[in-house]
């Protein structure tokens, strides 16, 4: 894992000190709320419905056990015993008092964490594949590149006041777990025909009120030019992106307005001026960063584990969890363990202090001290010996963390919605809970296979509804909650936006309607055909009919 150098440590230390002073000046009345608000937002502190909300960055979703224990400690000491993991691999506290926030940030700094650039019109936390460094699918570990981008973008003076917020995601696998096509910039490491590794550069994707699947503006960017090329994109955006209308200020609007070809030309022109300059890191610096992400010292093990096989045979619940929640590891004898934060009827992405500590203990004991946070609001232990899976599962089960539903219909993304958020029009969590309860039977869920349900409580689409196989958007109709269903979206390598199929459904109707969709799929599917593939084969017509039958 990356460790702070003296520059990182100084930046975070200075920022905490500065913010402590700003909070004191606000509390004494020296600063007005209008003056203070932009300052607190620069430190990830929002004011939500019930209280302040503090958003803490988890760079590219990687945590050590010490860091996760600190998050748990903060939840217990300063909050209400839980925290919420978000779709951007961040963590949010829903109840911190302003007077405590400097101490919270101080605590975070002791484990090399902070809330810098988790709000505001700047480059936000860089996100990545939660399987980075663990999956055999990847070309190389994408995290050194994320770290390089993090360092470049941290307090970047030219890009601290962009027209709007800016989100970058990086993946290195064909199977996209980082949703790179719905980010302001998506980077996909891949091999050229000559075997050289570089980036496909995707610019101008995004969700929100103008959802767009990002176009590729460069098929192949040699790795060494990453920073100069990013700088060129950001300069073009900073110069030409709209500042007169917040809803038209994201880079996707600029790319769309200019057209991909013209936008690319502008970037290439800008790039020609800075390509090969000091911005492009020397190989030795790239290697220096890469060392932090060296693979752990794996044991040499056989592919199969006899003890795992035995436990699978003797315990059906464990067998199911292994089937559903673990993934193939690049190292023989190891597995990737997904920890579901979606218990049946629970709040997607919430974890208690005790659960975070349990996950931290497991990571320390069984996963080389690493935990990952996923954009689907789950956790992940990236490197677990197959021999240890039963022990890990047993502990997870004790902490209600062993729900075997990764990728299934109850593994729902939901934004906080009107239960917490000032921007929301409707609640989203209760809909997620009711859908999850409706499909509580794990035999049924597993039989249905991959179905991605994503729910947003307003048009800002924090719940990624546009790219759900089944997307649900809450809309307010004269003070009543209604839910608009979209079908056939995907955030993966086959990214596409869902189709809006018709009028909104009431809160009372929507869960039944989702069940009818799923029942229809079950009746029509071919062998092994996913919900999404059946939808693509059959088209919206019959699904729409199922959705509104009886309604």
């Amino acid at each position: 894992m990356y460790r702070y150098d003296e520059f990182d440590a100084a930046i975070v230390y200075d920022r905490v000190k500065q913010f402590r002073g700003q909070v004191e000046r606000r509390l004494s009345g020296e600063l007005s709320e209008d003056e203070f608000k932009p300052l607190r937002l620069m430190n990830g502190l929002y004011l939500q419905l019930h209280a302040y909300m503090l958003r803490v960055a988890i760079p590219y979703g990687t945590l050590s056990s010490k860091q996760l224990r600190k998050l748990a400690h903060i939840a217990r000491k300063y909050d209400k015993g839980y925290a919420h993991f978000t779709t951007r691999q961040n963590v949010q506290y829903n109840w911190p008092a302003l007077v405590d926030v400097p101490d919270i940030l101080d605590g975070l700094s002791t484990v090399e964490m902070h809330a810098i650039q988790t709000s505001g019109n700047c480059i936000r936390n860089v996100t990545s594949d939660q399987y980075a460094g663990a999956t055999a699918e990847e070309i190389e570990d994408p995290r050194p590149w994320c770290e390089i981008i993090r360092q470049w973008s941290t307090l970047h003076p030219e890009f601290s006041f962009l027209p709007r917020k800016f989100k970058i995601a990086v993946t290195a696998s064909d199977h996209d777990r980082a949703a790179v096509r719905v980010h302001d910039i998506g980077l996909r490491l891949h091999k050229s025909l000559t075997g050289e590794v570089g980036f496909e550069v995707i610019v101008g994707g995004g969700l929100g009120r103008t959802p767009i699947i990002g176009p590729t503006i460069r098929e192949f960017l040699p790795k060494k030019h990453l920073l100069s090329y990013l700088e060129a994109i950001l300069r073009v955006y900073n110069l030409y992106g709209r500042r007169d209308n917040k809803y038209k200020a994201r880079i996707k609007i600029l790319v769309n307005a200019e057209g991909v070809d013209r936008f690319r030309e502008q970037v290439e022109q800008e790039w020609a001026l800075i390509k090969g300059s000091d911005l492009d890191l020397p190989v030795c610096e790239i290697d220096r960063i890469r060392v932090y992400f060296s693979p752990p010292v794996f044991e040499r093990l056989p592919h199969e584990s006899a003890s795992l096989k035995e436990s699978i045979q003797s315990d059906d619940g464990f067998a199911r969890w292994v089937r559903v929640n673990t993934a193939a590891h690049k190292q023989p004898g190891y597995a990737i363990v997904n920890i579901s934060l979606k218990p049946i009827g629970g709040v997607p992405g919430d974890a208690t202090d005790a659960q975070m500590e349990a996950a931290a203990d497991l990571a320390e004991r069984y996963s080389f001290d690493e935990i990952r946070v996923t954009h689907e609001q789950n956790l992940c232990l990236p490197h677990v010996k197959k021999d240890n899976l039963f022990a890990v599962w047993t502990t997870l089960k004790q902490h209600d963390l062993a729900t075997a539903n990764i990728g299934l219909v109850s593994d729902i993304i939901a934004c906080p919605g009107l239960d917490y958020c000032t921007l929301a029009n409707t609640r989203s969590i209760p809909i997620a809970q009711r859908i999850s309860e409706r499909f509580a039977d794990f035999d049924v869920q597993e039989n249905l296979g991959e179905i991605k349900v994503k729910i947003s409580g307003c048009i800002n689409a924090c719940g990624h509804h546009h790219v759900g196989h089944i997307g649900i958007l809450g809309v307010d109709k004269k003070g009543e909650e209604f839910y608009q269903v979209t079908l056939g979206g995907s955030a993966a390598e086959d990214a596409c936006l869902g189709d809006i199929v018709g009028r909104g459904l009431s809160s009372g109707e929507v869960v039944d309607a989702v069940e009818r969709l799923v029942d229809f799929y079950r009746g029509e599917r071919n062998d092994g055909e996913r919900f999404l593939d059946a939808y693509r084969r059959l088209g919206p017509g019959p699904f729409k009919e199922a959705l509104y039958a009886n309604a």
Binding site: E33, W95, P96, A97, V99
Partner: protein
């Protein structure tokens, strides 16, 4: 009818302007204004700006419960998350 609401500066808790000019955590104890009086009450808050943040008006019934288009939002603010009834004011009001 309207009430004035805000979040308390130090801890962010939801508060309402009471008839005595102080802030109360309970909407039922809030001052209820006619529309124009409410605007005046909101406008005159400047002096005590270290006590609260983000003050605005909400619509209420005469019995002090939220009404109008934002009734659900304000009911949730006044009570707590509907999915965690152990949290927020709903957990404290017994």
């Amino acid at each position: 009818m309207k009430a004035v609401t805000a979040n308390r500066l130090a801890d962010g808790r939801v508060v309402y302007l009471a008839p005595d000019g102080a802030w109360t955590e309970r909407l039922v104890n809030a001052a209820i204004f006619e529309n124009i009086e409410a605007e005046n009450a909101l406008a005159s808050l400047g002096a005590s700006a270290i006590e609260f943040a983000d003050a605005y008006l909400i619509e209420v019934h005469t019995d002090g419960y939220p009404s109008g288009r934002e009734a659900l939002r304000e009911t949730i603010r006044n009570s707590g998350p509907t999915i965690r009834t152990d949290l927020g004011k709903q957990a404290e009001n017994g």
